[in-house]
């Protein structure tokens, strides 16, 4: 499910490249993330034959993924979620990765008033973006960002309205700020036992020896 206010025009090339054998939809209004309470991509849910959610996570890359992110690269994901998904498909409710009732209650928490207001505000921004009223779109994207500062879907979609390069720079700056000043991570841990990669978005270029050397020199 491609969640993108640009609609098919923005996402078709990715679908075409993947040659998918699964069902594909485009969700320009972020309707499905609102319903499932997701705040980042990629996110996923397992839904059993009775329509019950039995697991829901964010940051669920199907394989080890290296992503060029503006001027840097980030390493995102290993195969933990894919392995767990295969296990659930084969074993169903017997899979050790299915959430218990207690885990479901802890993870699927009710949302507060600001989150609900942010949702309505973000949808208003998307409407004005779609109708070409950029000034009002920016204003409402900013309001949604203020109300829900941890919702990366709102932040990144709103920043992308200004421009892709601008959005990449904002993500780098914000993730670096979070890494240095808070204990928040870009993705919530999935809680999978074999999840073993560094989940924070961390641009590799910051840690190359050459850059490290320049930073040391600048500190003198």
């Amino acid at each position: 499910m491609a969640q993108d206010s640009g609609g098919p025009k923005a996402v078709d090339k990715w679908f075409d490249r993947a040659s998918p054998t699964y069902r594909c939809v485009v969700d320009p209004t972020h309707q499905i993330s609102s319903l499932f309470g997701w705040v980042n991509v990629p996110s996923a849910a397992w839904i059993d034959e009775d329509g019950r959610i039995v697991r829901s996570n964010e940051g669920v890359y199907p394989a080890e993924t290296t992503y060029r992110f503006g001027i840097g690269k980030v390493r995102l994901g290993d195969g933990a979620f894919a392995r767990a998904t295969r296990d659930w498909i084969e074993r169903g409710a017997d899979s050790e990765y299915v959430w218990s009732s207690r885990e479901l209650a802890e993870r699927l928490r009710p949302v507060d008033d600001d989150t609900l207001l942010a949702e309505a505000t973000f949808k208003l921004a998307l409407h004005f973006e779609a109708t070409g009223d950029s000034e009002r779109a920016r204003r409402h994207f900013a309001a949604a960002e203020h109300l829900a500062p941890d919702n990366w879907n709102y932040l990144r979609q709103g920043w992308t309205h200004t421009g892709t390069a601008y959005a990449h720079l904002k993500v780098l700056r914000r993730t670096n700020h979070l890494r240095k000043n808070t204990d928040k991570s870009y993705y919530d841990p999935t809680g999978l036992p074999d999840e073993n990669y560094h989940r924070f978005v961390e641009p590799e270029w910051l840690w190359t020896p050459a850059v490290w050397r320049v930073k040391q020199l600048l500190r003198r």
Partner: protein
């Protein structure tokens, strides 16, 4: 004159009451299409959820004007805790808290209807009886 109501992932153009005074009034015959709610004898209903209208507000919230019967949706939304934001003639409605709460308690996946790339309509509830892996991504 018309209004735009953004709700449930859809954009709906509806009639505008001339003397709305800043409130969101929706014609009863347009209410379900625009918001999902419909008026029944037991109150305002959204699927199986029905909310009785407070007897002392009923006359304030349902009124004749411009030759039609109108419902003061913004006051009703305030009562049920549904957030709404307005900019000019565009109103955006957030999720209905009670629907979200019920979904959390049951862990039943919220239903939705979307159009697939090939033009088919996909309803999540049509996939009952199958395991579903729902996966989001984006180009940004």
């Amino acid at each position: 004159m018309t209004l735009i109501i953004l709700a449930n992932g859809k954009t709906n153009e509806v009639s505008q009451r001339t003397d709305a005074n800043g409130a969101l009034w929706v014609r009863l015959d347009e209410l379900r299409g625009a918001t999902g709610w419909q008026m029944k004898p037991e109150g305002a209903c959204l699927g199986e959820l029905c909310v009785p209208l407070p007897p002392d507000r009923r006359e304030d919230w349902i009124a004749d004007a411009d030759d039609w019967v109108w419902f003061c949706y913004s006051d009703f939304a305030d009562m049920i805790g549904q957030k709404h934001v307005r900019d000019g003639d565009v109103w955006s409605l957030g999720s209905v808290p009670e629907v979200r709460r019920a979904g959390l308690e049951s862990a039943i996946a919220p239903d939705f209807e979307v159009t697939e790339r090939n033009g088919d309509t996909l309803r999540l509830s049509d996939l009952r009886g199958h395991k579903v892996v729902l996966f989001t991504w984006s180009s940004w």
